[in-house]
């Protein structure tokens, strides 16, 4: 069996940038986006979140089943939204990792078949770098300046990257060693009796709460941890601390001050995320921080990022929220960067790689 590419024709210079369709299925969102260079044309997202709600978290098999059912309608809707035909595309891009293996495979299988049927080159790209790539789609037209530190936080990942070049120079500074930050939001919401997904629920519950009421632990920030885990995160201890605090409080017969617990928990997460991100900016001498991932939707995370970055003289970039959560447009945007730089398409035999490292922007 030989590894052939979907099509040998690689568009190089295309007016307005290459027209690329991106497919994203790494977690519970089936995303299909279309961009022309750095211009967003369509961003269709079909989420299976409601189906996961009764389980209190993303169930991989449920997500993968939903991707299969959502794929063709999402492709159809994205092309209609962009007002382009498949034949007009210059390339197709797909997330090949990291993410949930069974979920990734649905996108990979679909993208390969679509590329072959339409005769288009196919680019397998890195989901995390895709979150950074989303920034090029900002409508204000300001260019993403590099290098930048990128803090990517969602229910599936919590990663700190040093991005020197979007296409071929990305370094992982640190990541969570246990739960993702978004998972911590879900788990704490659950123990406060709030529904899934936890992020928006905690945000709502925290209104009027005192963020300094309870001093929850900041994972991996003690001097002894900082040596080995300077840029790594840990949220499982925080989740346990909240659970213990709530239990103790209940045992003492008091009503749980939900607003204070939510606000204090949220503060602990936002604090540790931004302390580490800004430490990276300072250590590396990089005056830019880019946020990505669904947890960016959290009001306090955004607010604290704005405050801390201003104080530190760091430029803060947050892509529009619809491009922060997992989506196909960011994958298309990264694919368009690869095409513009004259990269060859990925070989047809790449697989889904649930642990694809960020140093691999494109699976080759």
């Amino acid at each position: 069996m030989t590894a052939t590419t979907a099509s040998p024709s690689v568009p190089v210079a295309v007016e307005g940038g290459p027209l690329v369709l991106g497919i994203e299925t790494s977690c519970d969102e089936t995303g299909v986006g279309i961009v022309r260079g750095t211009t967003l044309l369509a961003n269709v997202i079909s989420s299976s979140m409601d189906e996961h709600a009764r389980y209190g978290g993303v169930v991989p098999e449920v997500a993968a089943r939903a991707h299969l059912e959502a794929m063709e309608p999402a492709l159809r809707a994205a092309l209609a939204e962009a007002g382009v035909g498949l034949d007009e595309l210059d390339a197709i891009a797909v997330t090949s990792g990291p993410g949930l293996a069974g979920a990734l495979m649905v996108g990979v299988g679909a993208a390969k078949a679509l590329a072959l049927a339409a005769g288009k080159p196919l680019y397998a790209v890195n989901h995390l770098v895709g979150h950074v790539g989303a920034d090029v789609l900002r409508e204000d037209g300001s260019d993403l300046e590099l290098p930048t530190v990128a803090l990517l936080v969602s229910g599936g990942h919590t990663s700190l990257l040093h991005v020197r070049d979007l296409v071929d120079d990305v370094e992982l500074l640190g990541e969570t060693i246990d739960d993702a930050a978004g998972e911590a939001f879900d788990k704490v919401a659950r123990l406060l009796g709030l529904p899934y997904p936890g992020g928006p629920q905690i945000d709502r519950a925290a209104v009027g709460g005192d963020p300094t009421a309870i001093r929850f632990p900041r994972g991996l920030t003690l001097p002894k941890d900082r040596a080995a885990h300077r840029y790594d995160f840990s949220f499982s201890g925080l989740k346990t601390a909240v659970a213990r605090w709530v239990e103790r409080h209940e045992a003492e017969g008091g009503a749980v001050p939900v607003a204070d617990v939510a606000a204090s928990f949220r503060e602990a997460v936002a604090d540790v995320l931004l302390t580490k991100a800004l430490a990276a900016c300072a250590d590396l001498g990089v005056p830019r921080l880019l946020l990505g991932g669904g947890v960016v939707a959290n009001a306090r995370v955004r607010e604290l990022a704005t405050e801390r970055c201003a104080a530190a003289g760091v430029e803060l970039r947050i892509p529009p929220l619809s491009l922060c959560t997992d989506n196909g447009a960011m994958i298309a945007a990264l694919g368009a960067q690869l095409v513009s730089r004259g990269r060859a398409p990925s070989p047809l035999d790449f697989g889904a790689d649930s642990t694809l490292p960020v140093t691999q922007v494109q699976a080759v």
Partner: protein, 224 residues
């Protein structure tokens, strides 16, 4: 011409033609690398057959039963290819293809010689993982040369297979360890369904198992 894809066991892709038969069939027996190989197999089958996507009249997906993760790759690939080529995607049971291949090709006689009928019982058995097999029972071929299903598909432990199928272990049965379902047979069965105006399967994967989940039981105590 039809492009047929089945990943219910290993991965198989074929290009078939009603009159010309199976023009090309490419397979990989590995039951864990569906996402890696599906594109290469589609590409190779089309090249070997010398057929362009625009020449196809339909794509056929084998909808199982089969282990979830791999099964889905072939179905989504079939749907996406059909979408990309602007042709319909149709579903055919993977066991139907196995029964069709065995009943119309086996026993050393063609269907036409047998007067369009082959009254031979068959139990199709495929691996379903987790110490279970998927089975279906077939009575033979009908007047159109199409396999007649009498039971299944369903899951059972191998030890309970005789009881479930009501057949003795000496009656004709397919090999549960077979690693590929023929995409050529799947495609030719689809051609015959078309020819006789018969119904295709529902556009749903035959998972036969609910997702492996335990609904949240509320907050757990963590203790001190």
């Amino acid at each position: 011409m039809i492009l047929a894809i089945d990943t219910s066991a290993g991965s198989a892709v074929a290009v078939v033609d009603r009159d010309g038969g199976v023009l090309a069939e490419c397979t990989v027996a590995d039951t864990r690398r569906h996402a890696e190989v599906v594109g290469v197999l589609i590409d190779e089958a089309l090249r070997a057959a010398g057929v362009a996507p625009t020449e196809l009249s339909a794509v056929v997906a084998g909808v199982g039963p089969g282990p979830f993760t791999g099964l889905r790759v072939g179905i989504v690939a079939a749907r996406a290819f059909a979408f990309g080529a602007g042709v319909p995607c149709l579903s055919v049971g993977s066991h139907d293809a196995v029964a069709f291949e065995r009943l119309s090709g086996a026993a050393g006689r063609s269907v036409s010689e047998a007067g369009g009928r082959l009254d031979e019982p068959l139990v199709v058995v495929t691996d379903a993982r987790r110490r279970e097999v998927a089975w279906s029972a077939w009575a033979g071929l009908d007047d159109d040369g199409l396999p007649v299903r009498v039971a299944g598909p369903a899951l059972v432990r191998p030890a309970d297979l005789d009881e479930a199928t009501g057949a003795s272990s000496s009656s004709p049965r397919t090999d549960p360890d077979a690693t590929v379902v023929s995409a050529g047979a799947l495609g030719m069965l689809a051609e015959r369904l078309f020819e006789h105006g018969r119904a295709f399967a529902a556009d749903e994967p035959l998972y036969l198992r609910e997702p492996d989940v335990t609904p949240s039981a509320g907050p757990k105590k963590v203790g001190r």
